[in-house]
């Protein structure tokens, strides 16, 4: 537990691949060519394909679901900015830093600063996560 009584959350790592991006496009229905058309993407300011922001956000949500289970499904909250794109070949690490525990409407809430960084330590997604503890019971 952290100094403020907020439990640690184990980090999670994933490697981004073009095949994974293609699968996400199929699963989500988001076929924007910036994600899947390498020839088109080379003509854009990104100079290549990039992963969907929601794909990167999925890693953060999975990390929190693995830590909190039903409480995440029934009382999780994410608020993030997409700061930079994830690209095929990147290895991303999702992390959560315990911030504080508080009561909201009589329910305990744990708050974290979260980010997803690439292998160079650049924060591609950052923001906050909160989870209401015990709502699922």
């Amino acid at each position: 537990m952290s100094a403020e009584g907020v439990p640690e959350v184990p980090p999670l790592s994933r490697r981004v691949t073009q095949e994974g991006i293609r699968r996400y496009a199929e699963a989500s229905g988001d076929h924007n060519p910036i994600h899947i058309d390498e020839e088109y993407a080379r003509t854009t300011p990104f100079a290549g394909t990039i992963a969907h922001g929601m794909l990167v956000l999925a890693y953060l949500s999975e990390m929190m679901a693995a830590a909190f289970g039903d409480d995440w499904l029934a009382g999780g909250r994410l608020k993030v900015r997409f700061r930079a794109p994830a690209r095929p070949g990147d290895t991303l690490t999702a992390r959560a830093e315990p911030r504080r525990a508080r009561q909201v409407n009589g329910e305990p809430v744990f708050e974290y600063g979260i980010e997803c960084c690439n292998q160079r330590g650049e924060a591609l997604v950052s923001g906050t996560a909160e989870v209401v503890v015990g709502r699922s019971r």
Partner: protein, 145 residues
């Protein structure tokens, strides 16, 4: 309707409501999503054909898909931010309804910043299971992507 015929997100005024969308959240949909994001967590329980509950971000992602079925993102549009709140688990195998509206719209240096609010709930439920806000920055007057 092709994407080119859809209204650009940059052209939608504040307060504009998109038609409600209905879609299924079947076991195959959830399996494809989990494979795509490599989510092998056991947090979603066990049902007869796989997990009992959908990953909550899968529900949000499909709600965003429903928005993209009705709104065009012009070339150069950027998904700049996302808020999402999970209020209860959504079972695999149900049909859900999503709603969306333009909650905020502002202009800044030739770009339009739109905040799209959405909510998703099982068909027939009175309250949403997942709510969210997507911030999109889109250039004005750009050709469709």
């Amino acid at each position: 309707m092709t994407s080119a015929n859809l209204p650009s997100v940059a052209d939608l005024p504040r307060g504009h409501e998109l038609p409600a969308a209905h879609f299924g959240l079947g076991a195959d949909d959830v399996r494809r999503y989990r494979e795509a994001v490599e989510d092998h967590s056991s947090a979603y329980g066990q049902g007869p054909d796989g997990p009992a509950w959908a990953p909550p971000l899968a529900v949000a992602a499909l709600a965003l898909r429903a928005i993209l079925d009705q709104v065009r993102l012009p070339a150069g549009a950027v998904h700049a931010g996302q808020e999402v709140e999970f209020r209860r688990p959504v079972p695999v195998g149900v049909f859900v309804r999503s709603r969306a509206r333009v909650a905020q719209r502002s202009e800044m240096r030739g770009a339009v910043v739109s905040v799209i609010e959405f909510d998703v709930g099982e068909d027939g439920s009175a309250t949403p299971a997942v709510v969210g806000r997507a911030t999109v920055i889109a250039p004005r007057g750009e050709a469709p992507s």
